[in-house]
Amino acid sequence: MSIIAHYNYWVAILLMMIGLYPVIALPNLIKKVVGLSLFQTGIFLFYISIGTVAGGTAPIFHEVAGRDPLRYTNSLPTALILTAIVVSVSTTAVALAIVVNIRRAYGSIEMPDIENADQE
């Protein structure tokens, strides 16, 4: 059945949407940054689900499975997501640094207050 076959992708999309909602709807800047982080982990889940193999094992060579590619999880999405995780925490750090500076400049991190202060 297609639900059993695709449920992992749909949960990943659900996580992405749960992360997208605070970016649009919530006025607090910290919540927006947290929403972006949730969105990113949803994308990672989607990507790794593509590379999983039924009955497979971790992509490290051992003699039982030999060089048979059907016995290992696909190593390529794993490699790409590994660096993406470290890059995502670095960009979250920069985003939080910008939020701290906004707080120092405007005195608040809620969007309506910042917009009012800008229009004065």
């Binding site: 971790a58 590994l82 470290v86 670095s90 640094a97 707080r103 120092r104 005195g107």
Partner: protein, 154 residues
Amino acid sequence: MRDQSILRVAAKSMTPFILVFGLYVIFHGDISPGGGFQGGVIVASAFILYGLVYGGAEMRRVIPRWLSDTLLAFGVLLYAGTGTFTLLAGYRFLDYTALLPGNPGTGEVIGMTLVEYGVGFTVSMVMITIYNEISEGTVPDTGSQPPGEAGGNG
């Protein structure tokens, strides 16, 4: 944290083990799960634990600002330098067989090790820098110039 001697003793005795484990993860990245990224983060977490328990000034005494800034750039330089060296030796960029032209297999291993060290340096120093910069001036801000740390800037 001055009165919490359990925390101070535990942090000080755990730090060498965390460091050794982090270096093990970097060195054995070829054989077991791990590599430069994971090992770099673990090495940084040892220093961050020390900084959390003993204070920012004490952590700055152990890792001075000039050291973390220099090693930050040195990691990327090591990585790109390996690639430029292989380019200048006549091979393609980041073709590790240039490092030991007699046996290309060993050259690959040497190249991978050097590059992992570069990644480990950069990632660990970036995590330490992130923690230090975000935790300086820990008094809640009143919007204007925040009061400096009691020990001054490192």
